[in-house]
Amino acid sequence: MASPAVTPPGLPPPVVAASALVVRRGGQVILDGLTFTIASRRVTGLLGPSGCGKTTLMRALVGVQMISAGQVELLGLPAGAASLRHRVGYATQDPAVYTDLTLAENLRYFGTVLGLARPRLADAIARTVAELDLGGLENRLVGTFSGGQLARVGLAVALLGQPDLLVLDEPTVGLDPVLRRDLWAMFHRLAATGTSLLVSSHVMDEAARCDYLLFMRGGRFLAAATPQEMLARTGAADLESAFLSLASRSEPVRL
């Protein structure tokens, strides 16, 4: 079912290549033999209902989830390789930042951990603060931030080191529509300047904003294609219907 994305000739090699990736947890199969690639300099959307394995897949990519079988390579290296830790930015669903530190203290600490030294560190902090519209909040405790601000702090940390690949787990959940639009614009700006992004979402209206889609359900991919191909293939009017149509077609397979 899951057709791996083929890199058209002339494009840079994919940033992620996985084959027959399986993750089992407590006897349960979470990821069921995924084979796929993620193209360079694109915004790839990982779409699917909550509980379908999106987060586990992302954790496997950034190397914090043990893999039961199969292989994953990022930027030509096995997932979790030490040298990837500079090059892959990861933002978890719950913004994993220190709520008892100020924004500036958080960014300074994570920036230092990423190997940024003084002048570059200050530049990186100024850049991400501006990019995520967090200006003026630098000296406030992150614990006093609103949900939307907090989510952006998590993103800011992921962006700090200007990674080659950004793995963002539901970065726009609970954000107001204006902010969501701005973030998606930023994702495309980053892709245009050479960053590859994998962005997960369970909201289908965000699927249309992606260059390429991985539709996921029950630990498997229903389809992997561009939004246009997805619509053409299913004959659906919108991506939500396309997802439903693909899900119903694959139903007997998964049971």
Binding site: I67, R85, V113
Partner: protein, 255 residues
Amino acid sequence: MTAAAGQAAAPIRWTLTWATARRVLAQLRHDPRTITMMIAVPTMLMILLRYVLDDPVALDRFAPEFIGVFPFVVMFIVAAVTTQRERARGTLERLMAMPLGKLDLLLGYAIAFGVVACAQVGVVLAVSLTWLGVHLSGSVVPLVVVAVLDALLGMSLGLFASAFARTEFQAVQFMPAFVLPQVLLCGIVVARDQMTPLLRWLSDVLPMSYAVDAMQQISTGASWSSPVTKDIGVILGFTAAALIGGALTLRRRTR
């Protein structure tokens, strides 16, 4: 299984260790109530001890032993809860996906808590030797050194114990479970050579016995004698073992 990949021990990078120590101290600075309690509680307990005993001879005997115990206990709890929180909030996972070594993190904690331990011991000793009128036969310097090492021992055991706590509540429960038996067996309540063989053996394998023994020796004028240096060696050994044990329990990958 690719679990072992990328787990090779990296050399300690002091920039990251320092950054971590500064971050932990900044977190404490934003929580003045905790820091006040960390500094004040051992001193308060000493004052209480002075009036409970109400006997200068008994106080001279017990005070140094308790100076070895109180900071140990406080540090154990603080370290256990802080690291448990780091796990629960996802910041540990984020750091493990970043180029931070496990020892960078643990030594950063050790330095930060070491600074607090110095303040803690400094205050409790100053109050004990002046206001409470504790009289030492030996010199103060080894007493300070051993008391700070005791606090660091408590910290490293707390870091290690936190690996086995799933919640903050459990982490706090480890205090009575891990620490109070040591208080009973360390030779304060009953002299170690009057214990039954089994209890004596238990006392011999528990680190606090050496902490209290060293304080006893020093307070009776032993200074840097060989029993004291032997005790210090054992304390340092337990501290190092607990830190290494802590590093082993910090997993980059989870199942």
